[in-house]
């Protein structure tokens, strides 16, 4: 009898201990999550480059607008025209909301991509897309200010003997130039459009 009672008490305390442990783990997790969101610095767009019409541009020129930013080079025959086409389709799809969004194509090939070179290329996909380039120094600084990677690769079979590897994400920055989201290469324009529309009309 006493033994049964003792056993019950023991089992009950095991149960309480287990619950306490679960609660403690959840609490620790919750605390860690909060700490992470509170301390993680907001990533902000930061650049000073020349646009395809020759004007110097910084992120402040687009204050109040959403910025759709992607990186590439005009000599890229596959990824870059594909992304430019996707962005063109997104801009067409935005209709009258298009003026709230500024698409920016930033060259990571300053050797070849002069403003003039971008002028006869980038706007052909969509008149609203602005091509940005700069000196090799400016491009390097820009790449350091964004979560991107680019590299010149010697490739005998490529035009001029080199090709560029680069981050192919599409970045969305909010009206205060804070990074809002990224879409990986290959995300269909329709998906980007739906997501973008939801965010800008919120």
């Amino acid at each position: 009898m006493t033994l049964t009672f003792l056993r019950k008490v023991l089992w009950a305390s095991v149960g309480v201990a287990a619950l306490a442990l679960v609660w403690l783990l959840l609490w620790a997790d919750y605390r860690a999550d909060r700490a992470r969101t509170e301390t993680e610095p907001v990533f902000r767009a930061n650049f000073e480059l020349t646009d395809h019409s020759g004007m110097v541009r910084t992120q402040e020129d687009f204050a109040g607008q959403w910025m759709l930013i992607f990186f590439g080079f005009a000599n890229c025959p596959d990824i870059c025209p594909t992304t430019l086409s996707e962005v063109a389709a997104v801009m067409d799809g935005l209709g009258e909301n298009a003026e709230q969004v500024q698409p920016l194509f930033i060259s990571i090939d300053p050797e070849r991509d002069t403003p003039e070179n971008l002028a006869d290329y980038v706007p052909v996909f969509n008149a609203g897309i602005l091509g940005l380039t700069g000196t090799p120094d400016q491009i390097e600084r820009t790449a350091e200010n964004f979560p991107i990677f680019y590299e010149k690769i010697e490739e005998a079979s490529a035009p001029d003997g080199y090709t560029m590897s680069h981050t192919s994400h599409l970045f969305l920055f909010g009206p205060d130039a804070d990074l809002v989201t990224t879409w990986s290469y290959g995300t269909p324009a329709e998906e980007i459009l739906a997501d973008l529309r939801k965010r800008i009309t919120r």
């Binding site: 005009a74 000599n75 890229c76 025959p77 596959d78 990824i79 025209p81 594909t82 430019l84 086409s85 996707e86 063109a88 389709a89 006869d120 290329y121 052909v124 996909f125 969509n126 990677f149 590299e151 690769i153 490739e155 079979s157 490529a158 035009p159 090709t163 560029m164 590897s165 680069h166 981050t167 192919s168 994400h169 990224t182 990986s184 290469y185 290959g186 324009a189």
Partner: protein
């Protein structure tokens, strides 16, 4: 994933290929859904896309491209790593197993058209010949779509 399967197939086919001194079967190759984007002038390389289906019973090996549109047409492959960094390199010879289709599509394999001999004008087309290791050839007419085309239907 699709490429992984293709790559695996290619590897599996290798001993078979080596065993047969000459590959036959390029007569059974069917090219579909070819398309290209218009270019602006001739200073930048173009790209063409298509599906190459091996309808025969033998593996075939795509070894090269020929077209009067570009001095150097080559199959190149764009690869994107886990960090989202994309880069491009020549694809080399491509084995297509019996019944398989390889897709030349944006973000993957593509016919890179270097040293364009004339601008690629929307609404026009050009012919491209695919050459195979058995000496066979398949010629396809590639329609040139708008510069912002996203697929063969655009």
């Amino acid at each position: 994933m699709k490429y992984t399967i293709h790559a695996t197939c290619s590897v599996l086919m290798l001993p078979f290929m080596l065993a047969t001194s000459a590959m036959a079967g390029s007569a059974d190759v069917v090219v579909e859904n070819a398309w290209a984007r218009a270019s602006i002038g001739t200073s930048r390389p173009g790209a063409a896309y298509m599906e190459v289906h091996n309808a025969g019973d033998e593996p075939v090996m795509l070894t090269g491209l020929l077209t009067d549109l570009a001095m150097r047409p080559e199959v190149h492959r764009t690869a994107t790593d886990e960090q989202g960094v994309s880069s491009m390199s020549p694809a080399g010879d491509i084995v297509i197993a019996p019944g398989e289709t390889i897709a030349l599509e944006p973000g993957g394999l593509h016919a890179m058209l270097m040293q364009l001999q004339r601008p690629m004008e929307e609404g026009e087309s050009f012919s491209m010949t695919l050459t195979f290791s058995d000496g066979g050839e398949t010629t396809v007419e590639v329609p040139i779509l708008g510069i912002a085309a996203r697929g063969p239907e655009d």
